[in-house]
């Protein structure tokens, strides 16, 4: 974990609800795909946690959905403004966990950390396939970015207006060696119920601090209580206890 000042390099809308934000600064604490950062926004007491989508030597990219007052305020900030950011939070994905031909299964903005993971997997000579789930055609984003990596990229929409009709589980098949999933909890659970493959799931919870101090995001697992921010956000599917 590091704390630092980052400069907004780019902050643009991708769809009616999703924006991309590139922040420049010391990215040395971001060491694995699936880790997240915690942004401080003026006028709000708590920080806002976001998964890192991608990073280079001097900047990182976030994809965020404008869902409340905090993210609306964030979307109005112009390039050149600086933000106080905690970086290198959480455990991140294990790129060996899903075998040689893993599925990357995303619900909406859950695709963000899976993009960086796809690049890491390709570097290791693995052959990932992306399944990107959305509600409807107008919400589809980042499909070309996944495809541009040269990996098979399937889009599903719940209303059938684009790609495969239905949920991401409809696109899952048995040719794969494992999966990595990020999206709404109901989707993560459905993915696990659909396939017995080894898998890692990235969870989202309301957090206080984002670095393990407040115990605000603890979930009960087969390994005992784990902090989603510090011991997660990525959990082995085998450790998850689903609520009744």
């Amino acid at each position: 974990m590091k704390q630092g000042q980052f400069t907004i390099l780019e902050n643009t809308a991708l769809t009616g609800r999703v924006s991309r934000l590139r922040l420049g600064g010391d990215v040395s604490a971001i060491v694995r795909p699936g880790q997240f950062v915690d942004l401080r926004l003026e006028g709000f007491f708590l920080r806002r946690p976001f998964s890192v989508c991608d990073r280079d030597d001097a900047s990182f990219l976030l994809l965020y959905e404008r869902v409340g007052r905090g993210t609306e305020l964030l979307s109005a900030l112009p390039p050149g403004r600086t933000l106080d950011v905690l970086t290198g939070l959480g455990n991140g994905f294990d790129p060996e966990h899903g075998g040689d031909a893993p599925l990357l299964i995303a619900g909406g903005t859950g695709l963000s950390p899976l993009y960086g993971l796809a690049k890491a997997l390709l570097k290791r000579g693995k052959s990932p396939t992306a399944i990107l789930g959305f509600n409807t055609a107008s919400e589809v984003f980042f499909e070309e970015d996944f495809a541009a990596l040269g990996i098979e990229t399937l889009v599903c929409t719940a209303d059938g207006s684009r790609g495969l009709p239905g949920f991401v589980t409809a696109a899952m098949d048995r040719r794969h060696t494992g999966f990595y999933a990020c999206g709404p909890e109901a989707m993560l659970r459905a993915v696990c119920e659909t396939s017995p493959m080894p898998g890692e799931l990235s969870f989202d919870q309301r957090m206080g601090c984002g670095f393990g101090a407040c115990m605000g995001c603890t979930v009960l697992t087969k390994k005992g209580p784990l902090r989603v921010c510090r011991d997660g956000p990525v959990l082995d599917r085998e450790d998850v206890l689903w609520a009744d």
Partner: protein, 305 residues
């Protein structure tokens, strides 16, 4: 004795800045960012006799200038704190630490304190009779002077370490509770714990927190805490640790002028993990500006005004 040093129940502190229980874990997350030995001391996560998983999620809600939490005393239980957490803590913190203790019966408070009494790392016992987020325990002992006194007496009987009673602001007369604790043998008081509050989600029309209510902390509660420290410190002879919304060197000085002998910093640690270090660094310059020679001399400086 440095300009910043104060004394807490006969134990010297390099400075009065103490991270509050529940906002600092067992210290190691923060030790990644700075050398936590710069702190006066810190109060580690509240400990009960048996392990507790804590409350269901969500446990956290944001508020104007603050936050609500309903963590519910999640902790591994006193024996595992002693066998696992204290040895790890010893690697990154080399000063006496405050053990924060909670319970659901007078006997439980006493038993946890008895076990911590044997730990040389523990300098003080801070007894939390003010947690608003658990049922049939915690705050119910801190809202009645008689019950608070009973816990104080039971704890006092099993330890030779200084006993700090941590008080709830969710009472009509905090001075009465404070005096009852003093009369029952408390060596110090810390106040305030969080103020009970709640938020409702407009779309679902349900409370945001799974526990429905939670404890309000952050700068929103600072004036309430300050007023209570001012009242209590003039009514008792034992030292008072002031906490509630402190986030700057100026806040520390204001709280000490109100009568605090030391201060705790809580919610601010969760937003800026370097807050305590930054406050300690800022104190000498802030004191110069305000023509304060030593912090010790300003304790209660507003009394009688």
């Amino acid at each position: 004795m440095g300009r910043l040093s104060v004394s807490l129940c006969g134990i010297g502190l390099d400075n009065p800045v103490i991270p509050a229980s529940g906002t600092f874990g067992y210290g190691y997350e923060f030790a990644e960012l700075y050398d936590i030995n710069c702190l006066g001391t810190f109060s580690f996560k509240g400990t009960t006799l048996h392990s507790r998983p804590g409350n269901p999620l969500p446990r956290i809600a944001e508020t104007a200038s603050g936050m609500l939490n309903a963590v519910g005393l999640q902790n591994p239980g006193v024996d595992r704190v002693i066998s696992e957490e204290l040895p790890k803590l010893a690697e990154c913190f080399h000063k006496p630490v405050i053990a924060n203790v909670s319970g659901f019966s007078v006997e439980e408070y006493a038993e946890v304190c008895r076990r911590f009494d044997a730990q040389p790392q523990v300098g003080w016992l801070e007894v939390n009779v003010s947690c608003p987020n658990v049922h049939d325990g915690g705050m119910s002992f801190g809202t009645e002077p008689k019950a608070a006194a009973e816990v104080t007496r039971a704890v006092r009987a099993v330890t030779s370490k200084p006993v700090i009673m941590k008080l709830s602001p969710n009472v009509t007369d905090i001075v009465a509770v404070a005096k009852a604790c003093e009369d029952a043998g408390a060596d110090a008081l810390s106040l305030i714990n969080t103020l009970m509050g709640m938020r409702i989600d407009l779309r679902t029309r349900r409370p945001v927190l799974a526990n429905r209510t939670g404890g309000l902390s952050g700068p929103a509660v600072f004036p309430v805490a300050l007023r209570m420290v001012w009242q209590v410190s003039q009514a008792v002879r034992i030292p008072v640790i002031g906490l509630g919304g402190i986030q700057s060197a100026e806040d520390v000085i204001e709280m000490m002028l109100a009568g605090a002998s030391a201060v705790q910093v809580g919610a601010a640690n969760l937003v800026n993990p370097c807050t305590c270090r930054d406050i300690i660094r800022a104190l000498p310059g802030t004191m110069d500006r305000l023509q304060i020679n030593t912090l010790q001399e300003i304790i209660g400086g507003s009394h009688g005004q």
